[in-house]
Amino acid sequence: MLSRRRAAVALVAVGSTVLATALVGLSSGSAVASSHREAPLISSDPPVDNTDVYAFVSPDRPDTVTLIANWFPFEEPNGGPTFYPWATDAHYDINIDNDGDAKADLTYRWDFRTDDRRGNATFLYNDGQVTSLDDPNLLFRQFYTLSLLNRDSGSTATLVSNGKVVPSRVGNGSMPDYWQLRDQSITAVPGGGQTFAGQSEDPFFLDLRVFDLLYGGNLSEVGQDTVAGYNVNTVALQVPKSALTLNGNATRNPVVGVWSDTERFSLTVRSPGSQQSSGAKVQVSRLGNPLVNEVVVPAGLKDRFNSMLPEQDGTVPALVNRVTNPELPVLIQRIYGIPAPPTPRNDLVEIFLTGITTKSGPAISLDLNSQLNNADVDPARFVPSEQLRLNTSIPPTANPNRLGVLGGDLQGFPNGRRLADDALDISLQAVEGAAVSGIVAPLAAGDQVDRNNVPFGSVFPYITLPNNTAVNRTLFDGDTVAPFGWPNFPTMPTLTGLLAVALIGSGVVLFRRQSRGIAWQTA
């Protein structure tokens, strides 16, 4: 994944103001104007960028496990003209390691294809109202094949052919009943499961600025859910526990490790020729634990980490050192005087690399979610690696605690991850040693974003419908199709003028709400 911190879209108002000012301040040119041979260099690739993985025992079907993986960060609602398609030259994978050797035993793989009926006449996503997934007005459609790769037997089974992707939410005018479209897209999986692929509200909630401020030495600005209002692309899968667990036995072997990745086919220029220019598959993104880029992976290693397989994690000293000797507690000690826990941090090794178990050492006196606790696992073949580990034998609780294990609720993160687990506060507490010494009171408030801005569903796929209102309302008003580069796109000064008016307006609203005593969260 892209670093969450780096990908953060800051306060749109303030950011745009600075940008607009910068543009207005441009002087006349100098140096060589660019030639059109120049290809993009830092072109972003969000369709294949993993953002989050969730794994939990299904609250309404406790004999099953739900796996959710998200891609494509910061999807602005109403983002025409192509909205947010899945890449069709990539594999979208959720991997399961149930024997602890850091290699995938099972891979659930979604491969997408596009049926683009727009022709050359229009670039619009739909032409009229879309009331079903088969509606002729829907001009851009995607389908998927869900395969199960059994890495031990080398066999591949096709679980779903021609699964229907629920389209990006274009707006109430175009899609008056989006619930219905999503319901239609949920597809049965042989063996008693179901799957979903399509757009959803980004279930993550956190104030990403915490990391800027921690690294920058000031924790005074918190409480803003940085990803509120944005959407992501989601695949979700619900299968019986026995489908995932070692030897199909969830009683003897309840622990599974989970991570998502994206692979894309490359090209080769070494031996050109029409038949040979298709290159190897490249893993371009990988994700297990949340915030792993912020907390675990060193800055210079982020690109490499995305390409690494979990079995390689232990061979990279810089990565292991960052777990045993993390940077964050040292910073916090310097700024807040809260003593950093002694190193090496074997508690963090358990949380991120082995799962929490007494079998790897005494750091945390709990047997929770390491594959080492599976009865049929050969400890000699166990290899530490960064995965999200879930003990499927812990039943869903009626009263989940957002702090998960640290809050005494063993069903939550870092035992798997539920949608409502407060990943940032848990991660912050965990690096401060809370798994050993309990919640660190001075930091208990965390980022002051304790829950998602919209509630989650109670049945599969649990995630919320995509947001339908532009995050930045000042640029694109209304919920009709608002394509990029529309004709008569306002000139920059006009845009900044609009922005200015909107800023003044929002400042006034802010003032009024404040006066009425209404908490205003998204300032």
Binding site: S30, V269, G497, L503
Partner: protein
């Protein structure tokens, strides 16, 4: 948040809005100078968000070398998309700030400096920054993008291929696929180039990237004589970015190739008013010459000279472009001088071709042929190269070979240049008549 700080923030927001409004109004007023507007391509949302996010982070925390580097790199990208070199000094400022805050092992800033040097056509510096960046970030795709561009432009084909292959292995996507297309094209593999661009287009999300892929696909089709396919790509791109200057240039070129000269002239007239870089006035001037309007062509050449003086004043040189313009104008001495200057710095096939042509115009066909041979080194199916080669061979009296080369030029693309395609046909007729 306390009531007081909320109120203060509300006031701040209003204040920012008022300030911005004043600036916006100021910006809408006619500029004091007569410099034409150069900002083009209004839809660069992801990049703009990247820039605003970096600026917001830096507003909270100014000591942040990584973010300064990201901001600098984003400005380089912005300059590319808008074709507005005014972003270069801003990019350099941000990158230098990053390097000042972290002088050692600052891979992102070195990568950005490399990208900036490439954009300013200082390819030797780009290579140096890129190699320094590689030391720090051996697994980062962007580093290899900088190196690919630098080595390609310096004519070090092997190093370029190696860097590009590494980039493709690290990050398959729009950036590496479009570079692969160029590599394939340079080596004469048109089908592979088209395939790579199709892949890039399929992966492109940003409107600016879609426009770029469509433009390159259009150019590839045009350069290989498929005017209809070229037109379809340019028009499809214009649906996404309606006023993208390169795509408008493609549309004008297609009109010219179809013999719709008035429409083509109108297209170029519009383009040069938007973006007076060297390329558009040069092509406009050629078309005006073809249409029998030499006085208007001269006005475009005067515009190009102004641009060059501006560039020279800022310390930048583009001798290759200057040589090509001089050749178009029939100024053999200037064409040769500038081509030799470029060749002294770098030796890629396109500089070899320019030098060969300048030598031919100077009546030095024996020397010209050695450079034409060099230009043919990678196997590029370039109609202009074949035309130049044919004219050189004709000058040497090697008529049969000249006929082959000129025939090949017109076979690759009968519309490669309005003026030169006409000359190629006339020369062919003469040679065949003589033979």
């Amino acid at each position: 948040m306390s009531a007081r700080s909320a109120r203060a923030r509300a006031l701040l927001v209003v204040g920012l809005g008022v300030g911005l409004l004043v600036l916006s109004v100021a910006a809408l007023l006619p500029p004091a100078t007569s410099t034409p507007a150069t900002v083009a391509g209004g839809s660069t949302s992801t990049l703009d968000r990247r820039i605003s996010a970096a600026q917001a982070r830096l507003a909270r925390q100014e000591q942040d070398p990584r973010t300064w580097a990201e901001l600098g790199a984003a400005y380089v990208e912005k300059a590319r998309i808008t074709a507005n070199p005014a972003y270069y000094p801003k990019a350099e400022g941000a990158l230098r700030k990053s390097l000042a805050q972290q002088p050692d092992g600052n891979g992102p800033a070195l990568t950005g400096m490399g990208a900036l040097a490439n954009a300013r056509h200082d390819f030797a510096a780009a290579r140096s920054f890129g190699e320094q960046a590689r030391e720090v970030l051996p697994d980062t795709a962007e580093v290899y993008g900088v190196l690919t561009d630098a080595y390609t432009q310096l004519g070090d084909t092997e190093a370029a291929t190696a860097a590009l292959q590494r980039m493709l292995e690290l990050k398959p996507g729009v950036s590496s696929f479009t570079r692969a297309a160029y590599e394939f094209e340079l080596h004469g593999n048109v089908d592979d180039a088209r395939h790579a661009l199709d892949r890039a287009l399929a992966d492109a999300i940003d409107p600016a990237d879609i426009a770029f892929c469509r433009y390159r696909l259009g150019e590839l089709a045009f350069d290989n004589g498929d005017i209809d396919a070229a037109g379809r790509h340019y028009e499809a791109g214009l649906l996404v970015v309606p006023e993208d200057p390169p795509l408008l240039q493609g549309r004008a070129k297609v009109a010219a190739a179809r013999g719709h000269t008035e429409e083509a002239l109108a297209g170029y007239r519009d383009l040069v008013s938007r973006l007076p870089n060297t390329q558009y006035p040069q092509e406009y001037a050629l078309l005006l010459t073809f249409a029998g309007e030499p006085e208007n062509a001269e006005r475009q050449y005067a515009l190009i000279e102004q641009q060059e003086q501006l560039q020279a004043a800022s310390g930048a040189t583009d001798d290759l472009a200057a040589s090509l313009v001089a050749a178009d104008r029939g100024d053999a001495g200037q064409a040769l001088e500038r081509a030799q200057a470029e060749w002294s710095r770098r030796q890629p096939v396109f500089v070899a071709d320019a030098l060969a042509w300048a030598l031919h115009l100077s009546g030095r066909d024996v020397e010209a042929l050695t450079y034409a041979d060099h230009a043919a080194g990678t196997g590029w199916r370039n109609a202009t190269f074949f035309y130049h080669r044919g004219m050189i061979l004709a000058g040497l009296g090697r008529d049969a070979e000249a006929v082959t080369a000129l025939t090949e030029a017109l076979r690759i693309n009968p519309h490669f240049s309005p003026v030169e395609a006409r000359t190629a046909r006339a020369t062919l007729a003469n040679l065949r008549g003589a033979g």
